[in-house]
Symmetry: C2
Subunit: 427 residues, 2 copies
């Protein structure tokens, strides 16, 4: 017998879920599928749809101080810790139909399913559309979840976006009240579960419908600049060159090999990527005098990240020296720490999936998520659903509705279980 | 006793040479040292100065059909083959004070020195400022020397430059008559000698004042495109990547290693350079899905070029395969053949330098020059002077006036020798 008092595990309404996906997919900038950029009129149209649907499903919708759209299913005990789920409805430019919105619509589907059984939660359940999870034109991501946990500073508020608009002004325009953010930090959340597409190839490759996220990787970005001697491609003999492009090519391979070795070491998810590289002056008839790259490093284990960051310095020097070049910059652009998902929540989700007969596997998130910020104020966990070919942030992004519905099935069971047997408060 | 009838080898006028360099350096686009782009008003101001100086030194100046400025010192025998020298007065944007103009001013200095002795040549001597040697806004280089040898086609004439101007219209604007180019192909040239800065580091490194050019390298350009699978930098595990950037890094090193091996093989000057490379989509958080590069290959030996071009195909496939990527393009963008400098002229120059007490070394030209085109109609040779740090096409380009004057000393002796003992006509 499951927590909802039935032997048949509750299934969410697939047809309604599909309807909601179709409706949101239709709300995209003309000729630019799929684009609902935060802070734009199209984003607000998406939110209008969501607020209406929240209300239809019996939730009370409001915009919080940080500009998040929150739908509340009020519990019988207003003093009990809130159970929270949700994700984000904004997209990258020309992005997909699932990244973010899957977490809101599956939360809505889970709540609908629970309500249709006549279930009345003891705890209030909040379904949240976090503001601006994707990198915004203000140069910041996860604005709403940062705001909810008190991670927005005066410097953030002063960031400037399109039309010279300050970020706090933009949040106000979304219905938030930045002046109240500091005093609105949530301390009433008992647990948070976010459903999200994997954005990677693992679940599809292993044919497993659900990933239970073990942790969200810390992310570091390091800018590397190597300098050699620019020269005429035809006149500088091969033996007299200090070709910064060759030093960078060596470095790229060395960085990758070191990342592979770390990933194989068993200290959790680890990646390092050189996605940005440029030669200078970038002329066909000029031996490159300089080369720049940015290394993006993701580590589930902070010690692994530290080790790798230390290794970079060694590898950069070795590559430069081997090609007669010099290291002009090794600059740490940014660094966030890894966030472990709550082990009790992971176990609850695994149990719920098992009742439904869905296979799961633990999986780290290499991408950042609102859950990483919410984890600062509450036990947090995530459920991943497969991404076709691992593609995200592109029109080709795809996840079957059935795959998302299964995660929603598990979410409904997890929330109802938590409602009856809440996690013990943190010591 | 030298050809001018004296035991003291003739020295050109250093002070006048310096004056001419200073005057030309002053004729540059304001705030953009040193820029005298072909077909611009500033270029014409440079030519006005040159035409005036040609006349002052007793030459008759005119613009030929291809838009070249030609100064003629008429010989006693109008039927005798013409001895020709010169180079170009146009520059790249923000280029140097020596590339090209050194060949004109040293030619002028040599003629001045010969005239001041009272020497009267048997053969007419032409001093030429070839039109638009540097790549022009019309997308073509060596326009004047091409025109002089009949290497301008109707397709070339139809090329479009700034303000939608056709190339033939622009040549007319420079004083040329494109309609007469075809019937003006020079068949009266007995020998051509061009003085030019080395644009490379060899003479400076070996402390040798003069390079006698053995040949002008053939040039090929090949575009390479590798494709893998773009993916999220955080979510695609290291073991599941097809990173086109890594395939390109491998390829860059393999191409370079193969070029080094060829350069060491003793088949003459050989270089291969990857000066242009880009990753796609070039985002810090995206595993590159594609990478493109252009390889610039220069070979004094055409067989070495062919061997290398064949090797590229093998190396591209190997690099792609090693990284799970595929070869999307191996496209030959252009190909010119090597031009050997005339062996008799090289020997004459070497002898003249020896009389002056200047050390020389044979040296290939990895850069293209007007001489490569003139070689189609006459025995041609080049004398290189050292480039400080091998730099050219940049404001830092530098060669001492004394170094150029020495080349002019050798040129004067070479021309007077040729006047008395012309090369035998080609069989």
């Amino acid at each position: 017998m499951n927590a909802l008092g039935s032997n048949v595990p509750l299934k969410v309404d697939r047809a309604q879920l599909q309807k909601d996906f179709d409706a949101l997919a239709a709300l995209t900038e003309p000729g630019k599928p799929w684009t609902r950029r935060s802070f734009t009129p199209m984003f607000l149209r998406g939110r209008d749809y969501l607020a209406r649907r929240f209300t239809e499903e019996g939730l009370t919708a409001h915009i919080d101080a940080a500009g998040n759209l929150v739908g509340r299913w009020a519990g019988r005990n207003p003093e009990a810790p809130v159970l929270m789920t949700g994700s984000h409805s904004d997209t990258v430019p020309s992005g997909g139909r699932f990244d973010g919105i899957a977490g809101i619509l599956s939360g809505l589907a889970a709540i609908r399913a629970m309500r249709l059984t006549g279930f009345q939660p003891e705890h209030s359940i909040d379904l949240v559309d976090f503001l601006a999870e994707e990198p915004s034109e203000w140069g910041l991501s996860c604005i709403g979840s940062r705001g909810m946990v008190g991670a927005l500073s005066a410097d953030h508020f002063a960031m400037i976006g399109p039309d010279s608009e300050r970020l706090d002004t933009a949040i106000t325009r979304m219905g938030g009240s930045p002046e109240n953010i500091a005093k609105s930090i949530r301390s009433d959340v008992g647990a948070f579960v976010e459903i999200h597409i994997e954005q990677g190839p693992v679940l599809e490759a292993e044919d497993i419908p659900l990933g239970i996220v073990s942790g969200i990787a810390g992310i570091a970005r390091v800018r590397l600049r190597l300098e050699g001697e620019a020269g005429h491609a035809g006149t500088v003999p091969m033996s007299m060159r200090a070709d910064a492009g060759m030093a960078m090519a060596r470095l790229m391979l060395a960085l990758r090999d070191a990342a592979r070795a770390e990933a194989d070491r068993g200290r959790g998810h680890f990646t390092a990527t050189i996605g940005v590289m440029k030669l200078e002056p970038n002329g066909a008839n000029v031996v490159p005098g300089a080369a720049e790259a940015v290394v993006d490093i993701r580590a589930e284990n902070d010690a692994a990240m530290e080790d790798y960051l230390a290794t970079i310095a060694t590898l950069v020097k070795a590559a430069a020296t081997a090609e007669g070049c010099r290291v002009a910059a090794t600059e740490r652009l940014s660094r966030t720490f890894a966030v472990a998902c709550d082990a009790r929540l992971q176990a609850l989700i695994r149990d719920a999936a098992e009742i439904h007969g869905f296979a799961t596997r633990p999986l780290a998130s290499g991408a950042g998520h609102d859950a990483a910020f919410i984890a600062r104020i509450a036990p947090a966990a995530m459920i991943f659903v497969p991404s076709k070919s691992g593609i995200s942030h592109a029109p080709e992004e795809w996840t079957d509705t059935e795959a998302i519905a299964r995660a929603a099935d598990v979410l409904a069971l997890t929330l109802s279980t938590l409602d009856q047997r809440p996690l013990a408060p943190a010591a």
